[in-house]
Symmetry: C3
Subunit: 373 residues, 3 copies
C-alpha cells in the first residue's frame, strides 16, 4: 500500500540534502558578513546603511520563525512522518515570513513577544494541518498516546527552562533600556500569576482535587505567551498579573474541556495541546494588545492595526495550514498507518526494552557459544 | 477521619486564588514602574531618589526569598499536602523578610551569597517544621521513600545546573567590577575544592569504597553554600578552597552519620537532607564570615555584627519554623496519612505504569468492542 | 587477584585528598587575586602588566582543559576505575598544557574554537589510552554496553544544551566585537548545516531509512567541533555551512562504519564514539583552518603553522595517551574485571531496582516484625 510506505531511506535523505544544498547555494550567492567598513562602494546608497539590520536581530528572528514551526509540530506529532514534517517546515516558514512582514512592516503593529505572529499563528497553523490530516481511526485515542511517569518528569525540565527564559524571549527585540526592562518584568509577573491560577484550576477540575502534570507542564507557561504582545507596553504590574492570571485559567480549562471536544466533534487531534498553551493564550495576548493600545499604553500604537494584525495572523495560519495540510496528505510522504501512530520505532532505531534486550543477548551468547564450539 | 481528608478540591484552589487576588490588588495599589523621569512631583524628596532600589535587584531579592522556601520544602516533602506548603510559604516569606531586614539593614552584616539568611535560615526553618510535624509512623523510614536509578540520574541535571550557576548566584548582588569578579572566582574555587573532598569522603565512608549518588548530588554543591558569606571578601584562592574543602567533608559526613541520628533520636525526618547541603554548610559559611571579617578581609565589616547575623538567622528560623509547624499541624490542611506519604499519586494524577496501562487499555478495548457490538 | 581488587576505599580517597591538598598549597603559595592596583612594587617590570591575563580568560582556559579530559573519558568509560580516571586526568592536563603552549605561543597558530587542541587532542589521547587498555574479552561487545529508551532521551538534554552553547564556546576567547560576532554566527550556521546532513545520512545508512539516536545525539554537534579553528576567520556563511555539512556526514559515517572496525580490527574500543564527534571533526577543523589561512581568510595566519599545530596536537595526543595508558595499566588502580565492565554498581551505590527493592523491603519488614515480636 503506497500510502503507508513508511520506509524513508531515499525520500528523506534526498529531500533533506537537496533543501540543504539549495540553502547553501543561496547563502553563497546572496549573503556576506558586513563589518560596517565596506560601504564605500555603495556610492549614493550611503543613506541605506542605517536601515541595515543588526545581525543578532536577524538571527533572533530566524530562531523565532523556527519556534513557530516547533509549535505547529505539537499538533501533528505522532501522526506524521519526518518527510511530511520537512515539507511542513518549508511551507510554514514561508507563510510565517509573509505574515510577519505584513504585521511588522505594513500594519506596523506591536507584537514584541510575538503572541500573535508566533504563538497564535503557530498553533492555528498546526491545528489546520491536523484537521486536514484527520484520521477517523484515532478518534477514540490511541493505545500508544499516553505518558509514563518518567517522561512526565522529563518534560518538566522543558517547562522549567521555558519559564526561566521566557522573560528573555519576550524582551529579546525590545528597545534596550527601560522598555526592555519593562518587558522582562511584565513577563515575569505574568508568568508568576499564571502559575498560581493554573495550579488552582487544575485542582478545581480534577478528580478529588488532584493536580494534573499536563496542566502544570503547560498552563504554567501560558502567562508568558499571553503577555507577549503587551510585554513592552506601559501596562503596569497590575495589567501583567491580570493577563497571566487569566491565561492560566483559560489554558487549564482548555486542556480539560476543549481539547476532548476538538478531537471528538471537530476532528482536530491536537497531540500536545498546543491550542491551550499557544492558541488560546496567543489570542488572549492579541486581544490584550488591542485593549492596551486603546488605553494609550503604547505611544504611537493603533488599536485598529493591532486588530488587523491578529486577524491577519489567524487568517494566514488557518488558510496556510489548510493548504499545507492538503500537500502533506499526498500519499507519497510516508505517513504512518494508524496502528503505528505515536510509536517512535517506526522512524527511529530504538533500543530493545530490558526483557527483549536480555533475551536477544541470551540469544547472542548462544550463537557465540556455537561459533566458538 | 477529618485529619486525613486529603481531597484538596476546594481548600487548595480557594486558598491559592484568594492569596493571588490579594497579591494582585496589593500590586495594583502600591506598585508602579519607575522610569526615572517622574520624580518632579517628589518635590523636596528629591534626595531620596538615589536610594531607590534597582528593579533587577528587587527581582533578585524576590527570587532569593523563594529559594529559601524551596530549601525548607526539602525537609518536609512527602509528608505534607500542597495546602500545607502554601501556608508554609506565606509564613516563611514573611519571617524571612524580617530576618533579612534585620541582618542587612540593622546589623549591616555581610552575606553576599546568603549562607546565613537563605541557606542556614531555610534549612533550620524546614527542620523546625519537620520536628513539629514529627510522625512516629515514619520513624523507621517508609517503603515509598527511596530513589530509583532513573530518578538519580535525573536529579544530577539539577546538580549540574546548580553548580554552573552558583558563581552567578553568589555574585548577583555584589558590587560590580573587581568585587563581583572576586565573588565569581571564590565561588568557583570553593565548588571545585568541595567536589573532590565530597568524592573522597563518600568513597571513604561507603561500603567497599563505592560512591553514593546522594552525596555526589548534594555535597558537591556545599562549597557554593559555605563560601556565600565570604564570597566578595578578600579571602584569596587559598581561603576559598579551604572553605570548599571543609564543606565537602562535613556535608558528606552529615548525610552518612548525622541524618540517621536526627531521624531516630531527635524526631527530625529531613526528607532531602537539607541539613547537610544547606544547614551545616550555611553555618560554616557564617562562621567563616566571622573569621574573615576578624582578619580584616572586608573593609568596614564587624565580626560582632556577623555573629549577630548568624544568631539572628538561626533564631528566626528555629522559632519561626516551630510556630509555622504548629499552624501546619491544624487538622484542616489535608495532611497525608502515613501510608500515603512519599507517594505522588495522592495529590497528583499520575499515569498508570506500563502493565496497568496495558491492562486498562485491554479493558477499554473490550468495552469499546462491546459498545460497537 | 590483585589486578581486579576494585575496592577503592583507601586508594581513591587518599589519592584524591593528597592531590587536592597539593593543589591548595600550590594556590596558597603562588596565586593571588590582582585588583590592578598593586603594581607599584613591580618596579621596572611595569611593562609586563599589560601582558597579564584577564582572570576570566584564565578560568575559561581552565574549563577548556577539563573539557579535553572529559572528551578522552568518553573513550574509556565503563572499563576503568575512578582511580584510573584520576591518574589520567592528572597526566592529560599536563600534556594538554604543553601542547597548548606550543600551539598558541610558539607556533602562534589560530584555533579559537579549539578543534585541534581540545577536540582532536582529547579524542586521540583517549583512543590511545583505550588501545593500550585493550581487552580481548570485550572484543565482541558486552552485555551491559547498551542504551535504554530513557537514557537515550536523557542524553538528548545534553545534546540540546551543547548545541545552544556551542556558539558561545567557539567565540569565548575571540576578539570582542565584529570578530567575536563572526565566531558566533559561523558556529551557528555550521551547526545548523550539520544537523540536516547528519539526519539525512543517518536515514540513508540505517535499516529501512530509520534515524538512529546515537547519530542524532552526536553528529548534530560535529559542525560545532569542525568550525572551531576557522570560527573567527572571514570564511563567510558559505564556508561555515560547507564545513558543517561535511562534518555531519563524516561523523555519521564514522559511527556507522568506522567505530565497529576500530573495535574489531585495531583493538580500540571507543565507548562513546568520541572519534566520530571529536576526532574526525577536529581533524577536519584543523584541515579547514589550513585551507582558510592559505586563502587569506585570517590576517597574519600561516598555513604552515596551522599544519604544525595540527600535527603537534595529534602527536602529543597519541604519544601522551599511549604513555598514560601504560601507567593506567599498572595492576594497582582497581580496574574492573571484564564481567563488571559497563556496570555502575561496581563503583557506585545504586538503588535496587523495583522488584529487588520490594523484595528487600518485604525482607526488612519481616526482620522488623521479628525484632518487634
Amino acid at each position: 500500500m503506497p500510502a503507508y510506505s513508511t520506509n524513508m531511506r531515499l525520500k528523506f535523505p534526498v529531500l533533506a540534502l537537496v533543501l540543504e544544498l539549495i540553502t547553501i547555494i543561496l547563502f553563497a550567492v546572496f549573503v556576506v558578513y558586513d563589518d560596517g567598513k565596506s560601504h564605500g562602494h555603495h556610492g549614493n546608497h550611503d543613506n541605506h546603511t542605517e536601515e541595515e539590520a543588526n545581525p543578532m536581530e536577524l538571527i533572533i528572528n530566524a530562531d523565532f520563525s523556527t519556534a513557530t514551526v516547533l509549535i505547529s509540530f505539537g499538533a501533528v506529532l505522532g501522526k506524521t512522518s519526518p518527510v511530511q514534517l520537512l515539507i511542513m517546515t518549508l511551507l510554514e516558514i514561508t507563510i510565517f515570513g509573509l505574515n510577519e512582514h505584513l504585521v511588522a512592516n505594513v500594519l506596523e503593529a506591536n507584537d514584541v513577544g510575538a503572541s500573535m505572529i508566533i504563538h497564535a499563528f503557530g498553533a492555528y497553523f498546526g491545528l489546520a494541518v491536523a484537521r486536514v490530516l484527520y484520521r477517523p481511526g484515532l478518534r477514540n485515542g490511541h493505545d500508544n498516546d499516553g505518558s509514563v511517569y518518567h517522561s512526565d518528569l522529563f518534560a518538566m525540565i522543558g517547562t522549567v527552562f521555558l519559564w526561566m527564559f521566557w522573560p528573555s524571549f519576550n524582551s529579546a527585540i525590545a528597545e534596550p533600556g527601560f522598555v526592555q526592562l519593562t518587558a522582562v518584568i511584565n513577563t515575569y509577573l505574568s508568568l508568576a500569576a499564571c502559575v498560581l491560577s493554573a495550579y488552582a484550576v487544575s485542582s478545581l477540575v480534577e478528580h478529588k482535587g488532584k493536580l494534573d502534570m499536563v496542566h502544570i507542564q503547560n498552563a504554567t507557561l501560558a502567562g508568558g505567551v499571553a503577555v507577549g504582545t503587551c510585554a513592552d507596553m506601559n501596562i503596569g504590574p497590575f495589567g501583567a498579573m491580570i493577563i497571566g492570571f487569566t491565561a492560566g485559567i483559560i489554558s487549564t480549562l482548555g486542556f480539560k474541556f476543549l481539547t476532548p471536544v476538538l478531537a471528538s466533534k471537530l476532528g482536530i487531534q491536537d497531540t500536545c495541546g498546543v491550542h491551550n498553551l499557544h492558541g488560546l493564550p496567543g489570542v488572549l495576548g492579541g486581544l490584550a494588545g488591542i485593549v492596551a493600545v486603546s488605553l494609550g499604553k503604547k505611544e504611537g500604537g493603533s488599536a485598529a492595526m493591532q486588530a488587523a494584525a491578529l486577524a491577519s495572523s489567524l487568517g494566514f495560519a488557518l488558510v496556510g495550514g489548510a493548504v499545507t495540510g492538503l500537500i502533506m496528505r499526498l500519499p507519497i510522504w510516508g505517513q504512518p498507518p494508524d496502528q503505528n501512530c505515536y510509536d517512535d520505532s517506526i522512524y527511529w532505531e530504538v533500543p530493545a526494552d530490558e526483557e527483549e534486550h536480555e533475551e536477544s543477548l541470551a540469544h547472542a551468547d548462544h550463537s557465540k557459544n556455537k561459533t566458538e564450539a
